[in-house]
Amino acid sequence: MVAPTIERDVSAIVQAAIEKHGAQRDALIPILSEVNRALGYIPAEAFQEIRKQLQASPEQINVSKGQLFGLASFYDMLSTKPRGRHVIKFCENAPCHVVGGKAVWDSLRDTLNLKNGETTPDKKWTLVTTSCLGLCSVGPVVLIDDDLYGNVSPEQIDDILARYE
């Protein structure tokens, strides 16, 4: 009985996203972002659902599932795979690197026992690197969900992670 619920959810989420951003080609990325935000990732059935609903719209927009998948795989903030409840993004660019970023990254990897892109078995954490977040004056920078941490040192990692359920 689980599958139908998810399907209904996806259908409702897609419908709300299309209503908010309009059935237009230039709304494709905002629609995908909306689905990603609601579900944490974009499941395969969402591509089908977006395609179906856009075609049925008065504007009759024709997009293929491949096109939609192409968008989701291109943009870094969109994920096609399920992620943990909390996503940790670590800035790997030069400004954070020269002020001690590598030690913070090592500490994150060791504490969570994860490699880049992996999710813990209990589905709590996903660890990924990201490009510059534009907070370079307070590097090294770690972004957990929507919470930003600046001037992070390896010693603070335990404390920071303990804040999340």
């Binding site: 080609r25 968008l71 943009y75 400004p95 490009s131 534009g134 370079c136």
Partner: protein, 546 residues
């Protein structure tokens, strides 16, 4: 306790008293009463400011504006302008160079450096960005009014052209010329796009403008729309800038409500609408044709050029794409004229530049200074020197696609022309200052990791070149390098520069080129001696950032 909204400090050292401080305080108090402000503004005194030729001195908080010398008969004017109308009483402001070292700290408290010149960041941090009335009180939408009611579109473009403003996104293309191209392009429908996809590592100047003064961008875009004959604009903002997005959204709503955007603006028959569009995480979308593709709902892969966006841009219509910082200069230029703008900076690079300072220095953050100051000045004055124990080894200017310059080049004036002559890129204005603990091989490896990750994959030179270059530098950092590798790297860099489709690929080789040009000995030490002179590289095969 009642909260006061402002505080006036009047100097009362013996010299000020001799020059009439007591009278001044009396007049200020009367003026406050006359404007019914006595409950909102507090008057206090300020002692021991040292010798100065601008006494008596008046400092008004929260803006920390310094006025001086102020005579008793100026009191009413000062109160009326600054505290009643809420704008700086410009003709009483003490000129910066007359400030002695002793009172320089007053401005420093507000986060301003004494010698800063703020045009782009004029209001950021001083006004409530969510209140359009504070923006209006600080000359907001005045330039739009002036352009629409007193100037023809041609005059607007001519003013921008005469000002000598160059694009602040990195390439430095003359803004006025770009505007002219779009104006001359055939077609009824044209678009104005603000490129707010600030993703160059180390750059966050645009975020400061968008978060601190969003209306200035809307005003500039409307002026551009009027000058170029466009009635629609897009702001393409990167997905990571949530706060900036919300503030822009709010600003657009307010501007529409007040009639600065929408139909029949200032009852002149001019219409202009702005849409906000967010990216979803892709560095390459800062490239203007990739940005346009992304707005159209496609993968952000740069187009082949020509044709350029000025004739074939969004939905194939003539399109102006300007960076946030470029646009933020526009209203001030329209208000004050091209001559005024040219009084800042150097003759070939007029105006100011916003720099973001980071790395091993005491102050990291954002500054706005006239074009043409040197890196040494930035480090010693604005960055308050290197961190204790740190010595300047190298600096990276302009983000990942910028240049790596050795300490020996720190006296080159930072303007477009001098930098071009020295073979250095000013880029986006990011200044990453690195000390003796930075290994060039390690740094270049991090930069190449960025490029191989962000390469969109459309063209082969960049897709394959960035990957191979990363692998080679990674090998060198693990002690597995060969001397022939350096030739391969040099040719990869050159091929990418020649053959890549867009700016990302064309500049991906710059770090390699600069590494081989300025730091060859250090790289060779990794290969010949199997050791990292700085002790940063592990020199053993290991997994990093994967």
């Amino acid at each position: 306790m009642q909260t006061k909204r402002a505080m006036i400090l009047v100097s009362n050292d013996p010299e000020s008293v001799r020059l009439g401080t007591n009278d001044l305080i009396q007049h200020l108090t009367e003026a406050l009463t006359a404007y019914d402000l006595q409950d909102e503004v507090e008057i206090s005194t300020l002692a021991g400011i040292g010798k100065s030729n601008i006494l008596p001195l008046v400092v008004v908080y929260p803006e920390a504006t310094i006025y001086g010398p102020v005579k008793p008969e100026d009191a009413r004017y000062l109160v009326e302008e600054h505290l009643y109308k809420g704008r700086i009483a410009t003709d009483l402001v003490s000129p910066p160079k007359q400030l002695s070292g002793n009172i320089g700290w007053l401005r420093a408290h507000k986060g301003y450096n004494p010698a800063e010149q703020r045009i782009v960041l004029e209001r950021a941090g001083r006004i409530d960005p969510e209140n359009i009335e504070e923006f209006i009180a600080e000359n907001g939408y005045q330039a739009l009014g002036k352009a629409l009611s007193e100037m023809t579109p041609e005059q607007v473009i001519e003013t921008i052209e005469k000002s000598g403003l160059q694009g602040r996104g990195g390439a430095g293309f003359p803004t006025g010329r770009k505007w002219k191209f779009v104006r001359m392009a055939k077609g009824e429908k044209k678009y104005i796009i603000c490129n707010a996809d600030e993703s160059e590592p180390g750059t966050f100047k645009d975020r400061i403008v968008l978060e601190g003064d969003p209306h200035t961008i809307l005003e500039a875009m409307a002026i551009a729309g009027y000058a170029l004959g466009a009635d629609e604009g897009y702001i393409y903002i990167r997905g990571e800038y949530g706060l900036a997005y919300r503030r822009l959204q709010h600003a657009i709503e307010q501007a529409e409500e007040y009639g600065f955007l929408g139909n029949n603006i200032f009852e002149t028959g001019f219409n202009f609408h702005i849409h906000l569009h967010t990216g979803a995480g892709a560095y390459v979308c800062g490239e203007e044709t990739a940005l346009i593709e992304s707005i159209e709902g496609k993968r952000g892969e740069p187009r082949a050029r020509p044709p350029y966006p000025v004739t074939h841009g969004l939905w194939n219509k003539p399109t102006l794409v300007n960076n946030v910082e470029t646009l933020a200069n526009i209203p001030a230029i329209i208000r004050n004229g091209a001559e005024w703008y040219r009084s800042f900076g150097t003759p070939s690079s007029p105006g100011t530049k916003v720099y973001t300072i980071m790395g091993n220095v005491n102050f990291t953050g954002v500054i706005e200074v006239p074009m043409g100051i040197t890196l040494r000045e930035v480090i010693n004055i604005y960055a308050k020197g290197m961190k204790p124990g740190s010595m300047l080894r190298l600096a990276q200017t302009g983000g990942s696609s910028g240049s790596i310059i050795p300490a020996s080049l720190q006296d080159t004036p930072m303007d477009f022309e001098s930098f071009r002559k020295a073979g250095v890129s000013l880029g986006s204005g990011a200044l990453l200052i690195c000390d003796q603990n930075t290994c060039i091989v390690d740094l270049v490896k991090v930069l190449l990791q960025f490029f191989r990750f962000e390469s969109c994959g459309k063209c082969t030179p960049c897709r394959v070149g960035t990957q191979r270059a990363y692998e080679i530098v990674d090998r060198i950092s693990q002690g597995q390098g060969k001397l022939e590798d350096l030739d391969v790297l040099a040719s990869l860099a050159q091929e990418m520069e020649r053959a890549a489709n867009c700016g990302l690929g064309q500049t991906a080789g710059v770090p390699i080129r600069d590494m081989l040009k300025h730091f060859r000995t250090e790289v060779e030490a990794h290969i010949r001696l199997g050791a990292c002179p700085t002790g940063v590289c592990a020199m053993t095969p290991e997994v990093e950032y994967v």
